[in-house]
């Protein structure tokens, strides 16, 4: 057969979408509402419809149908590489997909259909963060904690910070570096400042749990414990602030060291971030 012929029914084993619809009406209806149905989008789907992804259906029909009987399905037990390969036939040149291979998702058996529901009308974009939380349970828990970024409130999406389709950065961060990512919203911390606090200049995550924390300000540990994990000196830095500490000495280091992300003061107190 001439596989380059324009009519779908002359390709080897292809039966056309109308035949599929006879048994899979619900899936067909959702397909017609999807972007994939748009004839103006060039690609094999404009011609092959259902069989673009599911493969030729003749044998499937001949054998009387049945789940996975001589037809490609996107079921859980199907090799994720094979499933993604179907999508990448067209989408390997979609902007942002160039780093799919080095990405963590591909290497951990996440396939396109793990996140994208292709038979939902109108939009194929995943529900973010719900879809991400299905696998990243720890992040879901963190996002629920007392101190958190506004992920559950819908003001930050997982994809605001991460590139789910792959990245050369750790954790598939959507920036040249995790700090550069933080600066998108927190440019006040970018500096350069006169008096630098070295951990701030190296990694925000030295002190902050980015998805959420049981401690205020998304801190890894409460203050003063967090500060004392790095600082000891004469008098107050090394003093144990136990339950017998006086009221005035209970309060946290930031009561005086407010410029903890770096100070611009010409005063020498900037060195200790108190100016």
């Amino acid at each position: 057969a001439d596989v380059s012929a324009s009519a779908p029914d002359v390709k080897m084993g292809f039966i056309g979408a109308k035949t599929c619809k006879e048994c899979h009406e619900k899936q067909y209806e959702s397909y017609t509402r999807s972007v994939h149905y748009k004839k103006s989008i060039k690609g094999p789907q404009a011609q092959d419809a259902c069989e673009t992804c599911h493969g030729p259906g003749a044998m499937h029909v001949e054998k009387g149908g049945g789940r996975g009987v001589d037809i490609f399905t996107f079921d859980k037990n199907v090799d994720p590489l094979e499933k993604s390969a179907k999508c990448l036939t067209c989408h390997d040149t979609t902007p942002g997909m160039d780093l799919w291979d080095p990405g963590v998702h591909k290497r951990n058996d996440v396939s396109c259909d793990s996140c994208h529901d292709l038979h939902v009308g109108g939009r194929q974009k995943p529900r973010d963060p719900e879809v991400c939380f299905d696998c990243h349970r720890d992040v879901k828990i963190d996002a629920n904690k007392r101190s958190h970024h506004p992920i559950l409130e819908g003001k930050i999406r997982c994809s605001s910070c991460h590139s789910p389709h792959g990245s050369l950065n750790k954790h598939m961060v959507e920036a040249d570096d995790p700090r550069e990512l933080c600066f998108k919203c927190h440019a006040d911390k970018r500096g350069p400042v006169v008096w630098e606090h070295a951990p701030v200049e190296e990694d925000c995550q030295s002190c902050h749990a980015v998805h959420g924390s049981s401690h205020a300000r998304l801190l890894l540990e409460r203050i003063p414990q967090l500060c004392q994990n790095c600082h000891d000196w004469s008098r107050h830095p090394g003093t144990p602030y136990d339950s017998t500490a006086s009221f005035t000495s209970r309060f946290e280091c930031l009561r005086c060291h407010s410029a903890i992300h770096g100070s611009n003061s010409p005063h020498a107190g900037g060195l200790r971030f108190v100016r």
Partner: protein
Amino acid sequence: HGEINAGIRANDFDDESARFDEYRDRSDGLFGSADILMDSETSFLGASVENPALDDQYYNLRGGLFGLFKGEIFYDELTHQLSYNALTPAAGIGSDVLFVPDPVPPVSAWSDFDYNVEVKTLGAQFTVDTHNPFYFKASADQQRKEGIMPYGLYNSGTFKLAMPIDYTTYNTLLETGYRSKETTAALIAGYSYFDNDFDVLTLRFGGELEEYSTPIDNYSYNFSGRVTQRLPMESLLALKAAFNHHLSEADFSKYVSIASPEADNEFDGDVRYIRGSAVLTSQWDKMLDTRLYYSYVNRENESDEITSITGGTRTNHLFEYDKHQAGLDANYRLSKVNKLSGGYEFDATDRTREDAEQTFDNLLFAQLKNTSLDWMSAMFRLEYLNRWSDSDYSEETLSGDGLIHEFFTPFDYATKDRYRAKVAFEFNPLERLGLGLSYSLVFDDYDATQFGLQKDQRHELYADANMQLPAKIKLDTYAGYEYTESEFDSRRFNPGGADPTLPPDALNFNWSEEFDYDFFVIGSKVFIPIIARLDLVLNADYQFVDGNIDFARSAAAGAPLGTITEADDYYKTTAGIKSIYKADDQWSITLGYAYEKSNLDDWRYDNFTYRSGSVYLSGDGLDRDYEVHQVYALTSYRF
């Protein structure tokens, strides 16, 4: 097609707090949302509106021609509520000059104000993506932050006062790229500018004037490029290079009471980052794939060196570093249902920092995934990290208080061994039943540290389930438990007493603490079809934190230190019930009730007083608890 929702709600507060309004506006009155998408064979146009006129309103207009371009304009407001009804003796709240009378008036004469920051972002993005190999993307946004944040100041007394926030950040990004089946390339350029309207915060305490720095005006350029090339053996080589240039200017002439150390009254900040990455992924055959990678970061600090005149003679340190990271990992399919993964990563960091000059990390991991049962998958992972660090101190030259550096090591750079184990299961025993279960343990051993963090461990247990029960009842539930425990040793000393071998006394002694936290969360949502067209949805979530800190020191140093039994102790309960009546396929009406209660107990706030000696607080940590009942009605129209 789309959906329009409009509703009305009312709250009844048993206890009110800014925490209830954090990131959201749930005020009494009307609320709603709309999401509309129109499309044709060739184009689409969509619009979304959420919570119009409220403090968390969001608007989005998007559209495009399929196969040609798409664009989006959005406006988003975020409300960051920190604390209501804080108190202050200062006048001038909201400005950059605060006046506190000396003597400080009694608390009853202080004025109240709210700590909050409103964030308003206006942005747009545009993508041209036609059927030719080239594409183009552009995005820009402006973010405004206005409000008041707590700020601690020391000036003949300690004050917690109101820092005015008036920030504007402009971000722009341009990207153009080429793609083919074999090769892709992208060039990206970005510019960001941050402007703070308040350059200096001034406190006048009686006749005394003190000045404090605020976030510096700054701007940033970044340029990056990446290339990917498909190679034989189903390999892909990806290369990336990036240059980020951060610049800032501090105008010291704006400080009246502090002498400028520079003739030109300026500090010019100039920090440059050069980054490079290379990754080679290969699919050797159906069984084996590998990833080989390397990345490099260099931080070069060309900022001005400043030597202070006021408050002592101090020179700023220009912090720089180099980081190298290289690794190899591989996935090997032992069989169709067993996949073995393993890898090694080496990190080396060299810093211009005395207490952590060098760090070398060796990370090893192994992971096994099994899918031999149709209804279950299992994953087991082991990870080992060995970190070796070195300081730049010369022990012979350490003296006085500095002698403590011979014994104390900062936790995030300290030499340590880290062990991590994780096991995870996914169960699908029935078509409409899914269960997930995972447990992980992380243990850090800082065995080379004398003073500093000694050990910490973390246990995480998570579970979730979703199922469809008879009568089309759906249940989604999740639970999590985390336990963290840390051991820490340190030394309290007065000047001259850093040596830990000195006999202990009331002011010079070694001490230790153990802190542990239990965190537990559980939540469920049940969907129950009552009768045709009438559904009931129930939800309930509960979480708590229980923190404890135990201290110990030698009896010769004094009485035993007291355990803190309320360390960030917290609980939160949410519950709700709503009924949804679908009048037809388009119209539905929802009636609902929601309940939230949140409570923080922390030792720090026990017997809180705004004024104690020369300490003047604003109570910004007090406004934490709330209990709210909410009723609402919502009508929805789908088309």
